[in-house]
């Protein structure tokens, strides 16, 4: 059993399990499941200044988001440290691997390329752009669109929201540009 858990989990197990979270959170809390609101709550808790967007009772509205985020840190530790070995290679398809080799990626161990996502990588310009600009855009865009992959792509589309479909189309417009046009320039 433990060995089975240690192997990567197939999409047809992970997808439905994530999908069950949507009805569970509605049933348990009467809430729409989403993750990126936790970023807003963290800002409201630490640096609200005089910004209207951060002036609310963040604990009352956000305690559940923040508990879940803390849980995700723990789950990441369990999944990454107990149920995985650090030298595991993500089994992307050969064609995807060729695409990334063409971008200059050589180290395929771990979940993320260590050439870019390390403190050493951060000292290089590509690493800096990827980590700082990339994550800035993720945080900014998630709040601008009022939801991220969880709140829109999964919760919103499960509720058949046209607005969420539009957001997902936006995700793909941006993602295709970043992956096909921007990455070849900065890597």
């Amino acid at each position: 059993m433990f060995e089975l858990l240690q192997r990567p989990w197939p999409w047809w197990v992970a997808g439905p399990l994530i999908g069950l979270v949507v009805p569970f959170v509605y049933w348990y809390g009467g809430r729409k499941w989403g993750v990126s609101s936790s970023l807003q709550h963290l800002c409201a808790a630490t640096l609200p200044r005089k910004i209207e967007y951060f002036r609310y009772d963040w604990w009352k509205k956000g305690a559940w988001h923040l508990s879940m985020a803390l849980g995700m840190l723990m789950g990441g530790f369990i999944g990454g440290r107990i149920l995985s070995s650090p030298d595991q290679v993500v089994a992307i398809t050969d064609r995807a691997r060729e695409d990334l080799v063409a971008l200059g990626i050589t180290d395929f161990t771990g979940l993320v390329p260590s050439e870019v996502f390390s403190f050493g990588g951060l000292l290089s310009l590509p690493g800096e752009i990827l980590v700082l600009v990339g994550w800035f855009l993720v945080g900014f865009g998630a709040r601008y669109a009022n939801g991220c992959t969880s709140g829109h792509a999964i919760s919103g589309m499960s509720n058949l929201q046209l607005s969420s479909l539009v957001v997902v189309i936006g995700f793909f417009i941006g993602g295709l540009i970043a992956s096909h046009l921007v990455l070849p320039i900065i890597l």
């Binding site: 999409w11 997808g15 069950l20 985020a69 995700m72 789950g75 993500v90 800035f136 992959t149 793909f172």
Partner: protein
């Protein structure tokens, strides 16, 4: 209609909620584990998705939406209430209408997602899995969210 009225920001029903935060902590741990073990948190998988080279990510998102959608249809059909008997509010009406913020915010998010290869949930899981530089990523995402709050009055919605 102002952004205040969307589900995330709404001043919610004033009823006393007796939810246990432990449940959300466990739910988060469950999700964090899935994000790592299904490789949703992997930059390699996200690049593979944007290059249309595998069914993996589409299967995960599609499978999640299929299960989520069927569950919600059943819950609405049978008028399922919350565990404490409260009525469930599903986003509807104007909240379902696409606005400029949806396409513009979506594109910004997508640009970031295509670069860093993970979304906010997996980011927390990656920090927990012990990739130190992801802490910098978390501060980057917080800076982005904060900047949105600052700029919100002057952005098109």
């Amino acid at each position: 209609m102002s952004v205040e009225s969307t589900a995330e920001v709404r001043e919610d029903v004033q009823e006393e909620r007796k939810e246990s935060l432990w449940v959300y902590l466990l739910l988060g741990a469950f999700l964090g584990m899935i994000f790592i073990k299904s490789e949703v948190a992997s930059w390699f998988r996200i690049q593979e998705m944007f290059h249309f080279r595998s069914v993996h990510m589409y299967g995960i998102i599609g499978g999640a939406v299929a299960v989520g959608a069927v569950s919600l249809i059943v819950m609405k059909r049978f008028g399922v209430r919350t565990v404490r008997g409260g009525e469930i509010h599903y986003p509807g009406g104007e909240e379902k209408e696409p606005r400029r913020q949806h396409i513009l915010g979506g594109i910004c998010f997508g640009l970031g997602w295509g670069l860093v290869g993970a979304c906010p949930g997996p980011l927390f899981a990656l920090v927990g899995s012990g990739i130190p530089v992801m802490v910098v990523g978390l501060f980057g995402a917080l800076a982005g969210a904060w900047f949105y709050g600052l700029m919100r009055p002057s952005l098109p919605h």
